[in-house]
Symmetry: C2
Subunit: 337 residues, 2 copies
């Protein structure tokens, strides 16, 4: 691999001059700069970002730690984040936590060791000493989608409580009173808030969720399918399902359809996230929508802002994106039981 010193030898300059020339420093006269750059090109020189990072103390890499890249919601976040990051000369290091707090901690440690410049984090929000350390050290960090409960920290996402409220309210407005909740686990603050939103809406109609009416699994189609299957096999009667996310909702619909239940005539289903599949004909899932790609972009924007801010500590940024109820064909008036 050709280094800056090899070039220096070729052009009869000190290697520090070569470095300056390559960085377009005006202290090196223009024609020399051109000569150096030409020779560098000719020799196939490529900067060593590693060495550069060491001395500059910044790697121009961003870590994005999130539960599951296969979940389209997160894939969209990444897409938005990656696009802006690349535009700004940054690369994204992707880490799956699989909703596991320990893995989250391990990934945090690893990316810190790698001296990445900052972290985007969709956290499980469980007690996590590594995360505490990161926060206390004020490493550049942005919570994405799910806020950190107490700390003053950068955040971009939605008002999950309000989103949950919107979803439940929609079912209630359609006359549903027998509502069950099919969830993943409560392993993020966003989910907890979403659930609180459900409960607030239900409470307005004096409905208290029975624990039997909340079935938890994980955030996947297969989990939604399994959960609804067990529920259908009990004698619990219900007219609507609140699913924690769209994947679960789709699994629920798969299960209901398999059991010959008509959606929305017999049972209404509402999801959360508005992933692309929700809009497919044949799925037509009513859900809560938000701009996921922008969420990813904003996350990077906040992070870069923090990286470039001069006086520490920087202002804490908090971006709350809009969300809308998107009514499709999976919800309808409540059937009289």
């Amino acid at each position: 691999m050709v280094t800056i010193k090899d070039i220096a030898r070729e052009v009869n300059l000190s290697y520090s001059s070569v470095s300056l020339a390559l960085n377009e420093d005006p202290r090196i006269k223009k024609e020399t700069r051109e000569r150096v750059k030409l020779k560098a090109e000719e020799m196939g020189y490529q900067r060593n970002a590693q060495a550069r990072a060491l001395v500059m103390n910044k790697s121009e890499m961003i870590g994005f730690i999130l539960p599951d890249i296969e979940n389209p919601f997160f894939a969209s976040l990444i897409r938005g984040a990656e696009a802006l990051a690349f535009e700004k000369g940054y690369n994204l290091v992707i880490c799956n936590t699989n909703w596991d707090n320990e893995l989250e901690a391990k990934h945090l440690n690893l990316v810190i060791e790698r001296k990445i410049d900052g972290i985007l984090l969709v956290s499980c929000n469980e007690p996590n000493p590594t995360l505490e350390k990161v926060l206390s050290l004020h490493l550049p960090l942005v919570f994405v989608s799910s806020p950190y409960p107490e700390a003053e920290a950068n955040f971009v996402g939605t008002d999950s409580e309000h989103g949950g409220y919107l979803a439940a309210k929609h079912l209630l407005d359609l006359g549903h009173r027998e509502i069950v909740v099919i969830g993943g686990q409560f392993n993020s603050e966003a989910i907890i808030q979403r659930f609180n939103g459900y409960k607030r809406a239900l409470k307005e109609y004096n409905i208290i969720l029975n624990t039997d009416d909340v079935i938890l699994g994980d955030f996947s189609v297969s989990s939604g399918y399994k959960s609804i299957k067990t529920l259908v096999n009990t004698n619990r009667k219900f007219t609507a399902v609140l699913a924690f996310d769209d994947l679960i909702a789709i699994g629920v619909m798969n299960g209901l359809k398999e059991s010959g239940i008509i959606i929305p005539d017999d049972i209404s289903v509402i999801g959360f996230d508005n992933i692309e599949a929700a809009s497919f004909r044949g799925i037509d899932l009513t859900t809560i929508s938000m701009d996921k790609s922008s969420m990813g972009r904003f996350a990077v924007e906040i992070l870069l802002g923090e990286l470039n801010c001069k006086q520490k500590p920087c202002d804490i940024k908090n971006i709350v994106l809009d969300q809308d109820l998107v009514i499709r064909n999976s919800t309808g008036p409540a059937k009289v039981l």
Copy 2:
């Protein structure tokens, strides 16, 4: 940030001894090693992977360059790759090329500058001097999903020609003779081979594809939708659609359903990839299936093998995964026109 020298000061050792101790070098006696490690822990020392990478000449990072992370096919590849990579202590740097050859080249350059240890690449396979250089320099690289046409290079994927053949043969076996193809662009070798497979099967029935019967767009639902809409508005009669991938197929089905066409009674649709959505009730897409997560894992496995192989050049690895026709409800006997 506490460095190795800070520890050295605390434990009254030279910093090189501390380094040796932390790396469990037997030249440092066991009790000293323990003492050092304890102190390091106590001081909250974290290795600086950056500095380490510089001197070791390996970063323990892998670049994964691919067209579109939002396409579930690629998301699954990443999932598999990331899991194994992390297991082995590596991190994955994700780069979207958006099917753009220039972006591919830029990303290649960038990850090389970053001194990542190796590259996983889903290439557009267009002429690309940067890629040529990477190959001629024998940087560790694995072509994933789409092989490099000529070069001897590592590859993991499927036999795309055969896959295409399977898909087309299925339609032909069902009696379809009026078949149209809805594609993305021919911007990867895998796609070209897939298309060749289509043509081989069709040829066996003496069917030659008219250029009007091949509509190209991109690999998205909306593109499939648009393509089929324009086709439906012509007076071209057909009984089956070969879609380049599942997303396109789903878009096609959306469009057909919107036009009141019954699938598969009026028109059959077959996709490619078997993404999760293909299995959703209400979609039920017949498609060609393969183990995407394993493809990602194998890619990393090959790459790590190359990184650890002693005598260069290493053997070239070539893993071809099975693929199966998964028959669901989007294909049926051909309607008599």
